[in-house]
Amino acid sequence: MDVLYFAWVRERIGLPREAVETQATTVMGLVDELRAREERYAAAFADISALRVAVDQQLADFDAPLDGVREIAFFPPMTGG
C-alpha cells in the first residue's frame, strides 16, 4: 500500500510517500513495523499521541483495520484556516 507523510513527519522520515509491503492487520501494526526499520522512523513515530492518521483519505484511529486499504497517511494535528 502507499504510505504518505506530511509536515514534520515527512521531514523526519525524509520522504513524502513510499510503497510499503506489510503483514500488519491494523494501523498500529504498520506503525510498529515502520518503527523497527530505522532510527528516523522510530523518531517520527516515537509519540503517536502527537500524530494523526488517515486511511484512504479519511481520518481514522490507530486501531483501524488495514484490510483492503490502499493509502495510509501520517501527519501532525492539522492547522488549517
Binding site: Q57, Q58, A73, M78, T79, G80
Partner: protein, 146 residues
C-alpha cells in the same frame, strides 16, 4: 456548494460579490477571511502544505454537513496552499441562509472544522528558520461546541 483548493491568490471582493449576487432565497450572507499576520515579529512568509485529494474531500464533507444542519442555500470554501507573504489572504468561507443566526453559526462551524479537520499544515518562515505551527488546544476544544 463550491470548494477551491488552490495555490493562486483569490479575488475576495469578486468572490463575495458573486456569492451574494447568486442568492435567490437567502436573506443573510456571512463571510470570513483569514489573512497572514506577523503576530510574534520576524515572520518572512507562511508556507501551507496540504494533502491533495483528501483536502477537497474533507472540505466537501464539512461543507455538506453545514449545508444540511443549517439549511443553507449555499456555501463556499476557498483555501490556498504554498507560500504566502504577510498580508495575503489564506482562505475564505461564505454561507447563505434565510436567517442571520444560521448563516453566522454555519460560518463559525466551517472555520472551526477546517482549522482542525482539513489536512493543512502551516509553517512559519522567519530569518531564524522554519517552524511548523503547533495545533492549539483551543482549536480542538472549539469542536465540542458543535
Amino acid at each position: 456548494m463550491r470548494i477551491c483548493v488552490q495555490e493562486a491568490p483569490f479575488d475576495f471582493g469578486a468572490e463575495t460579490a458573486a456569492f451574494a449576487a447568486g442568492r435567490s432565497v437567502s436573506g443573510a450572507v456571512v463571510t470570513f477571511t483569514g489573512i497572514v499576520r506577523d503576530v510574534t515579529g520576524g515572520l518572512v512568509a507562511m508556507e501551507i502544505e496540504h494533502y491533495p485529494g483528501m483536502t477537497e474531500a474533507a472540505l466537501g464533507e464539512i461543507c455538506s454537513t453545514a449545508i444540511t444542519r443549517w439549511s443553507l442555500e449555499d456555501a463556499l470554501v476557498i483555501h490556498r496552499h504554498g507560500r504566502l507573504e504577510t498580508g495575503e489572504m489564506i482562505m475564505m468561507v461564505a454561507t447563505a441562509a434565510r436567517h442571520r443566526k444560521d448563516a453566522f453559526e454555519a460560518a463559525e462551524f466551517l472555520m472551526d472544522y477546517l482549522k482542525s479537520r482539513a489536512p493543512f499544515w502551516k509553517r512559519e518562515i522567519t530569518a531564524q528558520g522554519a517552524d511548523w505551527v503547533a495545533a492549539r488546544d483551543e482549536d480542538e476544544d472549539a469542536l465540542t461546541r458543535w
